[in-house]
C-alpha cells in the first residue's frame, strides 16, 4: 500500500523530468565545471591581482550602470507616452502603437549594434547630416562614438533594445489600472500628470524595478554587443573571458573559469535581489489593486 503511494508521488514528477535532466546536463554542469576552479586559492589570487580583471570588472560595472540608467529613462518616457495615449486613443490603435514601440525587440542585438554604429559612426548617418549642415568640415571631426573606450555606442544600443522590454513588462500591469479611477480623479480637479505620479507610478514601480534589474543582469553578462562595438582595452568581463579562452584554451582555462564563476555569482545575486523585491513590493501592489 505504501509502495503504491510513493510511486504515485514520483509519477507526477515524470512530466518535468526530461526538462530537468536536459537543463542540468547542458546548463548546470557548465556552471559546476566553472566553479571547480574557484577553490584553487592561488589561482583566485592570481586572477584578481592581475591588472586586467579588476579593470574589466569596474569597466563592465560602469558600462552596465550607465546603460541601465539610460534604459530606465527611455522606458519611463515611453510608458508615460503610452499612458497618455491610452486615455485618448482607442484600444485597437493603442495596440498598434504599442507594437511600434516594441519593434526593437524583434531585432537581434547584433543587428541593433550594427544599426547604431551606422547611425552614429564617423562615416555614419548623423555625421553625414552634420557635414551637410555645415557643422563639420571633414569626416573625422565628428566625435568617435563607436569602438572607443567609453562605450557610448554600446550604451546607446542597450538603451534602444532593452527599453522596449521594460515597457512591455510594465505595460501589462499598467493596463489593469482602471481608467474610471482617472475619471473620478478628474472630478476632483486632478490632471493626468498628477494621476500618473500619484497613482500609476507607485503601482507599476515594482515590476518596473524588477525588469530594470533583469535587464541589468543581462547587460552585465552580455557578450555580443561589447564584442561588436567595443575596444581591445578595456574589455567587459564576458569578452575578457571569451578572448582568453579563445586564444589559449588549455593554458588559460583555469583563469577563464574563475572569471566565469564570478560573473555567475554576480548575476545570481542580482537574481536574488529581484526575487526579494518581487516578494515584498509585489504583495503590496496586489493588495492595492484588489481594493
Amino acid at each position: 500500500m505504501n509502495g503504491m503511494k510513493k510511486w504515485q508521488r514520483v509519477k507526477k514528477h515524470l512530466g518535468i523530468l526530461p526538462s530537468i535532466v536536459v537543463m542540468s546536463a547542458l546548463f548546470w554542469s557548465g556552471i559546476v565545471e566553472s566553479f571547480q576552479q574557484i577553490f584553487n586559492y592561488k589561482l583566485l589570487e592570481k586572477v584578481i591581482n592581475k591588472g586586467e580583471f579588476l579593470n574589466s570588472l569596474v569597466y563592465t560595472a560602469k558600462l552596465s550602470l550607465c546603460s541601465i540608467i539610460l534604459v530606465g529613462i527611455i522606458s519611463l518616457l515611453g510608458i508615460y507616452v503610452l499612458y497618455l495615449l491610452s486615455t485618448e486613443v482607442s484600444p485597437a490603435k493603442l495596440n498598434g502603437i504599442k507594437m511600434f514601440f516594441l519593434s526593437p525587440m524583434y531585432i537581434p542585438y547584433l543587428l541593433g549594434g550594427y544599426m547604431i554604429s551606422i547611425l552614429v559612426g564617423q562615416s555614419g548617418v548623423i555625421s553625414t547630416l552634420c557635414y551637410r549642415l555645415g557643422c563639420i568640415q571633414k569626416m573625422n571631426e565628428f566625435p568617435i562614438l563607436v569602438n572607443e573606450s567609453h562605450g557610448y555606442s554600446i550604451i546607446l544600443t542597450y538603451g534602444w533594445k532593452a527599453s522596449p522590454f521594460v515597457i512591455l513588462m510594465v505595460y501589462s500591469t499598467m493596463i489593469k489600472i482602471n481608467n474610471e479611477w482617472l475619471d473620478v480623479a478628474k472630478v476632483y480637479g486632478v490632471n493626468r500628470y498628477h494621476f500618473f505620479k500619484e497613482v500609476v507610478f507607485p503601482i507599476i514601480f515594482p515590476i518596473y524595478l524588477s525588469s530594470l534589474f533583469v535587464v541589468f543582469a543581462h547587460i552585465f553578462a552580455s557578450f555580443e554587443v561589447p564584442y561588436l562595438l567595443g575596444v581591445t582595452y578595456p574589455r567587459t568581463l564576458s569578452v575578457l573571458a571569451y578572448e582568453k579562452y579563445a586564444r589559449n584554451s588549455i593554458g588559460n582555462r583555469g583563469e577563464v573559469m574563475v572569471i566565469n564563476s564570478i560573473i555567475i555569482l554576480l548575476t545570481a545575486s542580482v537574481a536574488l535581489i529581484i526575487y526579494r523585491l518581487n516578494r515584498s513590493l509585489g504583495e503590496r501592489v496586489e493588495l492595492e489593486l484588489e481594493k
Partner: protein, 249 residues
C-alpha cells in the same frame, strides 16, 4: 522625442546596399545584393540556421509542455527549486556555462557538429518557451482535466483533445521566440560549432563589426526577412499539424 530611437530602424532599411560615400548615396547599385546572394556560404548558412532553429523549437516544445503542466498545475514543494533550475539561463549568462562545458563537449565529441550546436541552442531558448506556456496554462481550469479523467478519457486522448488545443496560442508564441533566439545566436553556435557549422549571424559578423555599410546592410535586411519568413513557415506548419492532431472524429 520618443521616435528618435527608431530612426536606426528606418534608416537601416533605406541604406540597404546603396551607400557609397559619406554624403547621401550618389550611386545606387545592387552589387551588394549580388555579392551576398551569389555566395554559396550564404545559402548554406541559412540552411543550417533554419534547421537548427526548427529542431530546437520542436525539442523545446516537447520538453516544455509536460514541464509547464507540472509546474503550473500540480502541487509540490520542489516547485521552487525546479523553477530555479529551468529559468536560470534567463539571468545567468549561457556563455559562462557553455565555456565551462566546452571542454567536456570536446571529449564527448559534441563539437564541430550539428548535434552539439542544437543542444547548446536549447539553453537560452527553453526558458522563454516555458514562460509562454505559463500564460496558456493559467487560464485553464484544472477541473476540465479532472472531469475528463473521470469520464474515462485515456492519457493520450486527454493531451490531444483537451490540453493541446488550449495551449495553441502559447505554443505559437513560444516557438516564435525560440526560433528568433536560435536564429540570432552567435557566440554559442560559433564556440561549439567550430568553423564547421555556419549560420547567418556568424557569416554577418565580420561585415557588421567593420561597419561596412554595403554588404553589412544587405546581410541585415536579408537576415530580418529570413527571420520573418522562417517564423511564418514554422507557424503555418505547426498550426496545420496541431489542427490535424486535435481534430475530434
Amino acid at each position: 522625442m520618443i521616435l528618435f530611437p527608431f530612426i536606426p530602424l528606418v534608416l537601416g532599411s533605406i541604406s540597404s546596399g546603396w551607400r557609397f560615400g559619406e554624403i547621401l548615396p550618389p550611386n545606387y547599385s545592387m552589387d551588394g545584393y549580388e555579392y551576398v546572394l551569389k555566395n554559396r556560404s550564404t545559402w548554406i548558412g541559412m540552411g543550417y540556421n533554419l534547421s537548427i532553429a526548427y529542431i530546437v523549437a520542436i525539442i523545446n516544445l516537447f520538453l516544455a509542455i509536460p514541464a509547464a503542466r507540472f509546474l503550473f498545475r500540480k502541487k509540490s514543494r520542489f516547485k521552487g527549486i525546479y523553477m530555479v533550475i529551468l529559468f536560470a539561463p534567463l539571468i545567468v549568462p549561457p556563455l559562462s556555462s557553455v565555456l565551462g562545458i566546452h571542454h567536456s563537449m570536446i571529449i564527448y565529441g559534441l563539437t564541430d557538429n550539428l548535434l552539439g550546436v542544437i543542444l547548446v541552442n536549447i539553453i537560452p531558448s527553453f526558458p522563454y518557451v516555458l514562460l509562454s506556456l505559463y500564460g496558456s496554462f493559467k487560464g485553464f481550469s484544472k477541473r476540465l482535466e479532472e472531469s475528463a479523467l473521470i469520464d474515462g478519457v485515456s492519457r493520450i486522448e486527454m493531451y490531444r483533445y483537451i490540453i493541446l488545443p488550449m495551449l495553441i496560442p502559447g505554443i505559437l508564441i513560444g516557438s516564435t521566440i525560440s526560433i528568433l533566439i536560435s536564429l540570432s545566436e552567435y557566440i554559442l553556435t560559433l564556440l561549439i560549432g567550430g568553423g564547421e557549422i555556419i549560420t547567418l549571424p556568424i557569416l554577418m559578423f565580420p561585415y557588421l563589426s567593420s561597419g561596412d555599410k554595403i554588404v553589412g546592410s544587405v546581410y541585415a535586411i536579408l537576415f530580418i526577412l529570413f527571420n520573418i519568413v522562417g517564423i511564418l513557415l514554422f507557424e503555418l506548419g505547426i498550426r496545420f499539424a496541431l489542427k490535424k492532431i486535435t481534430k475530434v472524429r
